[in-house]
Amino acid sequence: MSSRDLDSYGHGSHPAQLADVLERVLDKGIVIAGDIQINLLDIELLTVKIRLLIASADKAREMGIDWWQNDPFLSGSNGQGQLEDRLRKLEEKAGLPTTSEEE
């Protein structure tokens, strides 16, 4: 197989896939602390990313998932069950014993 056979694209002719951009732009790069308007913590971005990466919006709608509307972080509402669910996921990510295991 020569390198010409590689399934490749440059950014000039085809836009990069959103998933590839997201996984870089959302949680990589310089992180600045201090006096800036927005200083999203890693964990918040992670949460957004998890939700986003479930599916693209169109796909999610197709599948009937209004994940952003049911998310307390994203919708600003205060759904206790979802908060717990989110906490458990973050605990798992962080390698901590999860809330559900203690129950």
Binding site: M1, S2, S3, D5, L6, D7, S8, Y9, G10, H11, P15, A16, Q17, L18, A19, D20, V21, L22, E23, R24, V25, L26, D27, K28, G29, I30, V31, I32, A33, G34, D35, I36, Q37, I38, N39, L40, L41, D42, L45, V48, L52, L53, I54, A55, S56, A57, K59, W68, Q69, D71, F73, L74, S75, G76
Partner: protein, 246 residues
């Protein structure tokens, strides 16, 4: 500058940091120079990027995609001219003084990061399994045969997982050897990758000799797998550790 209206409550959205390149990557992007480094920034409405309102904004998939693509586009334009150290999405300063203070305070580490990135690009590599995974246990004659089929199926899945892990490990080792640096990224689901084939590998590499890297990639392609090469990317994955955390 007059061509682009500046919002009344304008803050500064910082895309990334460059060295001595004088060009604006886009008409609405300003080059804020502090000694040897310069920030690439746009005036943005602080109301639009307000922390309290941001969760709702982020939930708007169209808004998010537009802003994320704009962020990427500015950095790619800068990358076409010279090295750039990318900022994370939504890095917004209230005022220019603070932004300049960041550039001045971190000039040394930013400069050495830019030096390191000179002549190097980030390339992404994904591998997909084109061979079908073992089939499900079909109709079985008896309960015992069914259980036996299930057991074999489980074993086959386990072996497949191990084989793929070994392939991914070997691929990463070869690619790192042909690059300056490399990292493994999370695997993407089918919905994300947009492909029917299962992703078994997702890595990103800092590459100085692209021909050599692509040769290594071509040699490393195992039977039954498709490789996808993406980039060049702004080097999001190769920002110095001390800049990549608050």
């Amino acid at each position: 500058m007059a061509a682009v209206p500046v919002p009344d409550d304008a803050g500064w959205y910082l895309y990334g940091v460059v060295g001595d390149q004088p060009e604006r990557p886009a008409p609405d992007v300003l080059v804020l120079r502090e000694g040897a480094v310069a920030g690439l920034a746009s005036r943005v409405s602080l109301a639009e990027f307000d922390e309290a309102a941001l969760p709702q904004r982020l939930a708007d998939a169209a808004w998010l995609e537009e802003k994320i693509r704009a962020h990427e586009q500015v950095l790619e334009s800068a990358l076409a001219v010279g090295p750039v150290v990318p900022c994370r999405f939504c890095t917004v300063y209230r005022d220019e003084r603070e932004l300049r203070r960041f550039l001045a305070d971190r000039a040394d580490v930013l400069s050495s990061a830019l030096d390191r990135l000179q002549g190097r690009v980030e390339l992404g590599v994904k591998a997909f399994a084109t061979a079908a995974a073992p089939s499900q246990a079909g109709e079985a004659e008896s309960g015992r045969a069914y259980l036996e089929a299930r057991r074999r199926e489980k074993q086959a899945r386990e072996e497949l997982r191990e084989t793929r892990a070994a392939i991914a490990h070997d691929l990463h080792r070869r690619l790192v050897a042909a690059a300056e640096d490399g990292v493994l990224l999370d695997l993407q689901s089918r919905e994300l990758s947009g492909r029917d084939a299962e992703m078994i590998f997702n890595g990103s590499y800092l590459v100085s000799d692209r021909a050599r890297f692509e040769d290594a990639l071509a040699e490393a392609v195992p039977e039954g797998f498709d490789l996808e090469l993406t980039g060049p990317w702004p080097p999001y994955n190769f920002v110095p550790e001390e800049l990549a955390r608050p």
